[in-house]
Subunit: 207 residues, 2 copies
DNA sequence: ACCTGAACACCGTTCAAGT
DNA sequence: ACCTGAACACCGTTCAAGT
């Protein structure tokens, strides 16, 4: 009779994520995770090939969880701009409650530690969906603009980068309103003017 | 006669940054840095207290370099919007040429590995300056919005997060124009409407 | 099939000893 | 004043051996 399975992918992910949130990504060692799931370090290599696979389990778990949150919001209001705002708030809430997992989600220390593209698919799909209903034209640049801002804001906030005082909540609302508002205006006069002028003045990447 | 100084802060920073860019942050070990500066590992502890101080040297060096780039751009054009666009391009160019140092700049793995606030001061000062000349009202939320977007975009780009195809350069220009344009419109009708409506509908952080 | 102890090559860090 | 070898407690990872 073979030994009963003591370690599952789900228990591994849960253990790793708990350690990550309470003690940081560096504390997610093979030894620490093994101890939490009640097994000796070498046994983990029956389930993962390398330590970064453990981090990837966290990232994919986070992608699934946030993907669920975001998907649940799509179609929640008849005004797509409210949906978009709700999504941004959901991302920020997730980042506040699971900052380490959130960090792994968009900027893992190495590509191998980041989420699978299959893991990210539902999240990205729902996001593109919401953007498509809000902004005219190609949703991809618009979605990238919104995603980059939300991700950047939350990461900087969690990293403690906003040191100059002021109300950080207010800055989030300001940025959100500015962006959502601008994205619905695409195509109106005034846009694309800077690109044209700065291209005139020389190279594309001034430094 | 005491032994001549073989290690300076500048040589340490340069060695660490070279290793970081060529082999990743994880490769910036005390041993590796010591080998590059031509000394045994324990000797480094005469100059830094911990490994994260070495990472901080990289972060502060990056802050200084990007700060110089950005400061040189302020006042470069009579149109402040062009200055802002130039700054965004400078950040992206820096992130492309020094992705690991750039990562340390805004989202270090731990606060101790991040830049000093003194190191960040010139960069942040110039950025606020440029925003103040462009956007009406409080420059802080506007600067945070722009910074979060640029940082998020560059980090995601370097992490290979833009996997859905499309032109990433175009997405950058799109986001930049959208944001700079929106920031100069602050106060016009249409803004702040979402916040008001989404506050109506319940909690501030829906999830 | 899964788990284990022992072993290997590496870390970061400390410290007494050298010049 | 700076550098060093030796040492410590830790990693990640491999592998032959157990059940």
């Amino acid at each position: 009779m073979p030994a009963p399975q003591r370690v599952t992918a789900a228990s591994l992910a849960a253990a790793a994520r708990t350690i990550a949130e309470s003690s940081g990504i560096d504390a997610v060692t093979i030894s620490a995770v093994a101890a939490v799931v009640g097994v000796r370090p070498p046994s983990l290599y029956k389930h993962v090939g390398h330590r970064h696979d453990v981090l990837r389990l966290i990232a994919d778990d986070a992608a699934r969880e946030l993907g669920d949150d975001v998907t649940a919001l799509v179609g929640t209001s008849s005004d797509p701009r409210i949906v978009l705002a709700g999504i941004a708030h959901a991302v920020r809430a997730f980042s506040a409650r699971s900052p380490r997992a959130a960090g792994l989600l968009f900027s893992a220390p190495s590509p191998e530690a980041g989420p699978t593209s299959e893991g990210m698919a539902p999240l990205i799909g729902s996001l593109l969906d919401a953007v498509r209903r809000t902004a005219p034209g190609d949703p991809l640049p618009a979605a990238r603009t919104l995603t980059a801002w939300v991700y950047g804001f939350c990461t900087m906030e969690q990293a403690g980068a906003f040191q100059l005082g002021g109300d950080v909540d207010e800055a989030f609302e300001f940025g959100l309103n500015t962006l959502v508002d601008a994205l619905t205006r695409v195509g109106l006069p005034g846009r694309a003017s800077i690109a044209a002028r700065s291209t005139e003045s020389g190279s594309e990447y001034p430094q």
